[in-house]
Each structure stands twice: as C-alpha cells, then as structure tokens.
C-alpha cells in the first residue's frame, strides 16, 4: 500500500559517479522490485521518481545519477535532512519466471540489488560507459561487467540460447535492442514524471505505437 511520509536521510554515499541515497524507512513498504518512489527534491517544485535499490530492515536506498537540478539537490542532501517520499508506485517485475537474467545499463542498474536479492542472485549482465561508472556493478551479485564500446547485447545473444528470461532496465536504445533479441523480456522504462500516481498524464511514452502513462501502466512492461 502506497503512503507518503517525511523520512530522514541516513547517508549519501558516492559509488563511482553515482550516489546511493539512504533514508529511514518509516512506515513505507519497500514494494516489489521495479516499483518506484517519488522523492521530494529539496527546493524544486516537483519530486523525482526513483526505483528502490536496497531494502535493508529499517531503510530504503536509492541509486541516483546527479544529472539535473532535482537529482543534484537529492545528491546534496545530508544525514538528518528530511525528504517526503511517496510510494511504492507503479508495477514492478514479475518474479515468477524460470531462469531469470538481469540486463542493465548505466543508472539502469539501480533496481537490481533489490531485484537480485528477491530472485536469489540470478546472473546479470551490466553495461557501463566507463570503468568509473562500472563501480556500480559491485551492488549486484553474479554480474558480468561490460564496458563500452562492447554492448550488453553481445553476451546476451549467447545466454538466450540457454533459455534465460530477461528482466532489463536501462537507456531506451538498450531496451529496444534487448527487446529485439528477447521478445518476451520484462523491460523497465523511464520518462519524466510530475506526480507518479496517474494525475498529470505527463509520463506517457509511445510503446508499440500506443501512448501509455508509464506510472500506472509501468514502469515495467512486457515486451510485445
């Protein structure tokens, strides 16, 4: 059940170029991996959607990349600061498939520690722009790390012949490429969101020619 609470920041840790923002859990449910939370971005008019990276007993942790004013404000929070957090929201991954394989790119690895934990540590293929970015791979067990110019689709092609079912999260071109190789993959998409709960109609993305509100139809969608 989603709810909104002011939660205290526990720590803000650098992992390569990314930031792991840890907040007290309060009365919030961590939800299903792939679901997301709206995090108040201090000083900004709108909150930011973040999938859950870790769910230790009394905390929630989010991996973020400070690329705009909202994520920079979140990365600059300090222990003791309070943030309104609302969630869990949207649809997460289905966890009942046989032989799961995680495929992630860049900040798209964010939900994978929690997802891996819930799936019992399945194999993962994680792609990054540089060795520095690839430091985030340490969050995910059993990961094969790929650094550009090699792409995750290279090892993926081999593994798919062994009957793996893909759960992916990453930039759109990666998701499109994964979908071409694995038509039954579960893909976590991304879009700018104002509200996260279906109110603003701002996060509609075109998927297979149909506009869908990602916050209520997704963010995890089955590939067609």
């Amino acid at each position: 059940m989603r709810r909104r609470e002011a939660l205290r920041v526990v720590a803000n840790e650098a992992i390569g170029p990314y930031t792991l923002l840890r907040v007290e859990r309060g009365g919030l449910d961590p939800g299903i991996p792939g679901q997301f939370f709206m995090l108040e971005a201090p000083g900004r008019p709108l909150p930011r959607p973040m999938s859950l990276c870790q769910a230790p007993p009394r905390e929630l942790a989010f991996l973020l990349e400070a690329v705009g004013p909202g994520t920079r404000a979140l990365a600059a929070t300090e222990p003791g600061d309070e943030l309104h957090v609302f969630g869990p929201l949207g649809n997460g991954y289905r966890l009942d498939g046989e032989k799961p394989l995680l495929v992630g790119g860049g900040i798209g690895v964010a939900p994978f520690q929690y997802l891996s934990e819930r799936l019992g540590g399945p194999p993962a293929i994680l792609g990054f722009r540089s060795d520095w970015h690839a430091e985030a791979a340490a969050l995910v067990p059993n990961a094969e790390v790929i650094v550009e110019p090699t792409l995750v689709t290279e090892p993926l092609t081999d593994l798919l012949t062994q009957g793996y079912k893909v759960l992916a999260c990453g930039p759109e071109p990666m998701l499109e490429a994964v979908r071409d190789l694995a038509p039954d993959a579960q893909l976590a998409w991304e879009a700018p969101m104002a509200c996260g709960y279906g109110a603003c109609y701002g996060c509609s993305v075109e998927i297979d020619g149909v506009l869908q509100r990602l916050c209520v139809a997704g963010p995890v969608l089955e590939a067609a």
């Binding site: 709206m38 008019p45 709108l46 309104h84 879009a191 104002a194 709960y197 603003c200 506009l211």
Partner: protein, 285 residues
C-alpha cells in the same frame, strides 16, 4: 470549497485524493477521443512546470459509458470539463451531459494552451452552450486575454454562471545542454507557484467586473494561498500542480485555511471572499 484543477487528478487512480475534495473536476472531455500530444509532455522549471498533454481523453462517449458511472461511485460531486474546436462542439457536449444526474456543473475549457483554439470568442461559445443545458456553466479563462475583465463581462452576458480563473499560460523551457525546447510540442502551459500573482490579479479584476462566483486557481499550495484567493474574490479554490508533489494537499490546505480563518475570527470561508476589495462593498461594473 476545495476542488482540483481540471487535468491535475485522475480520481479513478487516486480515489482517496478525490474524496478529500469538495468536488472533483474531470480532465477536459472533447467530442472524440484524443490520444494527446507526443512526448515529452512535461518540463519542470525553477518556479513551476510546463505541460503539453494536449487534452488526452476518451471522448464524450467513453466518458458517459465508462468513466462517469465509476466517478459517480466515489460519492464526490462531479464537475465535467468540456473542450472543443468550435462553438458547436461545446454545445453538443453540454447537451450530452444535460440529462446526466451525476454531473453537478459543467466547466467550459475556453483556454487550453496546448491545442488549436476554436475560432469563436469565449462569449460566443458560452452563448452556444447556454441553451443546451440547465446545469451551471463555469467559463475557464486564460490569464493571457488582452482585457480579461471585458472577456469576463462578455461570458457573463452570454449566460455563464461562474468563472474558473485561471488556466495555464504559455511558456517555453530549453534543454540545459542542447538549448532546444524540452517539450515535444515546444511550447507548453506554465503552472505552479509562479502563476499565483497572475491568477490573483485575474480573480481580483473579474470579481469586480462581474460579481460572479469564481473558482480561483494558479499556484495554490497552502492555506494562506487559498485565503488570498478568497480575499481577491474567489468563492472556491482549485489545486493543480501542488497535487503532483503532494497528494495529501486537499486535506492539508483545508486544515491550514481553517487555521487562517480562525486566526482572523472569520467563521466561514465565504466570510473571507472579497476582503481584498478595500471598502468591503464591491461595485459591479
């Protein structure tokens, strides 16, 4: 009285938020279903946000057959916002809603900044809609009108029962890196805290010009904001952008407004309406 601004809440996705309102205003319905504009549809700015949704809606048939019965089940009075591309569209939408008991009020969206406008004036549209329904008609106007009080007087003369002030105002946001428009449709409707002084001016002027009941909206995020809209002349306030960051805003703003009123010894919200008009007696021009 606290409402939502049209298009800022999906009552079926968030019934608990809708139930905290005194009335729920639907997203604008048009004669035919619309998919809305291509992404990107929203862009946050330093003091608000731009949207370019483009009136995504199921069309009047979809509303009547599917959504209206479910909305009625919420137990919240329903206002339906209607929009179109000619005065005849508005007239037909009002006729289609007229015998639906679930609908208490019709709001004419005469000011969506994200679609082509009807060629007729606001007053001509109200005049076309008026004879087609006995339900109260509220005209939602843009703050960008050259002479807003004059437009307000004209829609009053055409038969509007009230005014919804204001819709968003056109704005542009550019990408940090590329300097290209961030929205797919380039321009969007600007909303949020920065709109409040503009909206307050509209309410203040139109209250003087018409004396009509006004739903004030534009940057309302606290009880203090609501009080100011009442003082400027609003009979009710609507919450828009604040619902995106705070789904609990209806209850919070209501509590804060009650505290503001109590601190001033005002028993009812209606006792605050028009207080900004110095003499207390308002001349209707």
């Amino acid at each position: 009285m606290i409402l939502n601004a049209s298009g800022c809440l999906d009552a079926l996705e968030a019934p608990e938020v809708a139930r905290a309102l005194d009335a729920f205003v639907t997203k604008t319905v048009t004669p035919l279903a619309r998919e809305g504009n291509r992404p990107v549809r929203i862009a946050e700015t330093d003091a608000g946000m731009l949207n370019s949704i483009g009136l995504e809606n199921p069309g009047i048939e979809g509303l009547l057959a599917d959504k209206l019965p479910r909305l009625a089940g919420l137990g919240v009075p329903l206002w339906v916002s209607v929009g179109g591309f000619a005065a005849s569209d508005y007239a037909e939408l009002c006729a289609a809603l007229d015998d639906r008991a679930e609908v208490t009020t019709i709001e004419l969206n005469l000011s969506c900044p994200n679609v082509e406008e009807a060629p007729e004036s606001a007053a001509e549209i109200v005049a076309a809609a008026r004879p087609r329904t006995s339900k109260p008609l509220y005209a939602k106007l843009s703050p960008a009108a050259t002479d807003l009080p004059e437009t307000a007087r004209a829609v009053q003369a055409a038969g509007a029962d009230g005014l919804s002030l204001v819709n968003t105002i056109k704005g542009l946001a550019l990408d940090e890196r590329t300097l290209e428009p961030r929205l797919g449709r380039e321009l969007g409707g600007y909303s949020g805290p920065a709109l409040k002084p503009i909206a307050l001016a509209a309410v203040y002027q139109c209250y003087r010009a018409t004396g009509l009941p006004i739903v004030g909206m534009g940057g309302v995020s606290t009880g203090r904001d609501a009080l100011e809209f009442l003082a400027a002349g609003a009979a009710a306030v609507a919450l828009g952008t604040v619902l995106f960051s705070d789904p609990e805003a209806p209850g919070r703003v209501r509590r804060e407004l009650a505290e503001e009123l109590a601190a001033r010894g005002l028993p009812q919200p209606s006792d605050a309406t028009g207080l900004a008009h110095a003499s207390g007696t308002v001349t209707v021009a």
